[in-house]
């Protein structure tokens, strides 16, 4: 049985895990709090790794979620470079790679996700990498610079942000995408074509509908990406950005229900009342959309960290959030909210040619999702309207001379 005073053990020292520890203290939890993190550094923010940090506009210090002193001050034990390998729920212990066991009263699984890799010839060459951790970003940053050639495998947001950052650093960038358009998984066609044009105008080359056969190398380092047409795209470094896989093995092996990630409820609790799971690793209810989903965002990590911390500290649950995310590319700020499920129409407000517009996904007159390009008012208003499900006047929404305040109020 669990020893008294074992407190909360958080497996995973990312944005979700680090935030959960902070919220526990903020909500008045006084028991022991331990974070077990696989990476050698304290919890940090991943979004800048492909954005401001990669371009050199943010320093390492600014990545940190909290200052180093925070954990000692708040009596949070931070065990870094430590991997948890198994979970025995009956005994309430987590076993570490070293064989050491860590008891818990309450466990929070915040193991996140790992970048999907390509199982193709040459994928293990130096210079073929993913972009998920600070260590990955460090390697990529060193490889970028004037005259360098970056191949980006996968036209998703990580890849596009890496391409934009590469261009900002003077490197060449080629984006290779298996589908006929970029951003197929996350965005509508209009946004795909907008971003394709925007990147092309800034020197990025796209290879669409292009299957990859493997990577070519010389002396153990990548020199090119070979397409199935036989053509080779020469490069000095290749970033593979083809999605992430939830690190749900710890939960799965312990008999906790997993779908696309660890199944949790709206308190971020698993079927075991003493085990919670938060962040990228979870398969969670989305009441607004009447389904279960795995989300990949800071907003989700924070919302679930609050849910779990509130439940553990005996506080009322936090206000439900409309899911949102953002991307920075060149001078474009893309802000997205909601999910385009069960929608029957798309309405565009603003002017794509001026790089200032928003795409609203509608179900009848109710906004279900928005993708806003340099359009913060549209994003903020839609976030509220998606949550309230209040019908809007389509004519007003389409008319940029009617303010979003008025659209929201009418």
């Amino acid at each position: 049985m669990s020893e008294p005073g074992a407190g909360v053990v958080i497996v995973g020292g990312g944005h979700a895990g680090g935030s959960a520890a902070a919220f526990l203290r903020q909500y008045g939890y006084e028991g022991r709090v331990t974070i077990i993190g696989e990476e050698p550094i304290a919890p940090y923010q991943r979004p800048p790794l492909s954005k401001a940090w990669l371009k050199g506009e943010a320093d390492a210090d600014s990545l940190m979620l909290r200052p180093e002193s925070f954990y000692a001050e708040k009596d949070i034990a931070l065990r870094l470079a430590t991997k948890a390998v198994s979970l025995q729920r009956s005994a309430k212990i987590v076993t570490l790679e070293t064989g050491e066991t860590v008891p818990y009263e309450t466990l929070i699984i915040a193991t996140g996700a790992r970048a999907r890799r390509l199982n193709l010839p040459g994928a293990d060459l130096d210079g073929v990498q993913v972009l998920r951790s600070a260590a990955d970003a460090e390697v990529l940053k060193l490889a970028l610079g004037p005259g360098k050639r970056l191949a980006v495998v996968g036209g998703g947001y990580i890849g596009l942000e890496a391409a934009a950052s590469a261009r900002a650093l003077g490197a060449e960038a080629v984006v290779i995408e298996a589908q006929t358009r970029i951003l197929t998984r996350s965005s509508c066609e209009m946004l795909s074509s907008f971003f394709t044009d925007y990147h092309r105008a800034r020197g990025v080359v796209f290879e669409l509908d292009a299957a990859i056969e493997g990577f070519e190398g010389e002396g153990g380092h990548v020199t090119g990406v070979r397409l199935d047409s036989g053509r080779v795209i020469p490069c000095d470094d290749a970033v593979v950005g083809i999605g992430i896989i939830p690190n749900d093995e710890l939960a799965r092996d312990a008999g906790l229900e997993c779908a696309n990630g660890v199944v949790v409820d709206l308190e971020a609790r698993t079927a075991d009342p003493t085990v919670f799971a938060i962040g990228d690793v979870t398969h969670r209810p989305m009441p607004l959309y009447d389904r279960m989903l795995r989300l990949e965002s800071v907003a989700n990590a924070l919302e679930q960290a609050k849910q779990a911390a509130a439940a553990i500290a005996g506080r009322p649950p936090p206000t439900p959030e409309v899911t949102w995310n953002w991307s920075d590319q060149y001078d474009i700020k893309l802000q997205m909210a909601g999910m385009p499920f069960d929608t029957d129409d798309i309405l565009v407000r603003g002017d794509p040619a001026a790089a200032k517009f928003a795409v609203f996904h509608l179900k009848g007159d109710v906004i279900r999702a928005v993708e806003a390009i340099n359009a913060p008012a549209e994003f903020m208003a839609a976030r509220q309207l998606i949550g309230s499900q209040k019908p809007i006047d389509r004519a007003k929404l389409a008319n940029t001379t009617v303010s979003m305040k008025e659209v929201a109020a009418s």
Binding site: K51, S62, K333, P376, M380
Partner: protein, 106 residues
């Protein structure tokens, strides 16, 4: 370096030294001051680092950018002296700055 006073909604004051070049938001986060969430980490994407700038300091902290203004338009409890603290860069000129926090960032 500037001495900045952060006042929580409940009136609790935190006086800290913040390095020039950081944002007023970063000054709060680095000093573990509650009440400024900064969910997006300073990308001006979330409007959860909302503060009220003391009237005497409005000139020195500058004015809202168009982006910031649009974001604040839809935040809760917005006042004429509302700012997103991630958009205020700390300079020596801001030594003595006082910012107050709203009831909630969400």
């Amino acid at each position: 370096m500037a001495k900045i006073t952060y006042v929580e909604f409940n009136g609790k004051e935190h006086v800290v030294d913040v390095k020039t070049g950081l944002s007023v938001m970063e000054g709060a986060v680095k000093n573990n001051i509650p009440g400024i969430d900064a969910d997006c980490g300073g990308a001006c994407a979330c409007a959860t680092c909302h503060v009220y700038v003391d009237e005497n300091w409005a000139d020195k902290t500058g004015s809202q950018s168009a982006m910031e203004e649009s974001m604040l338009d839809f935040a809760e409890n917005v006042e004429p002296n509302s700012r997103l603290s991630c958009q205020i860069k700390v300079t020596d000129e801001l030594d003595g700055l006082v910012v107050r926090m709203p009831q909630s960032q969400h």
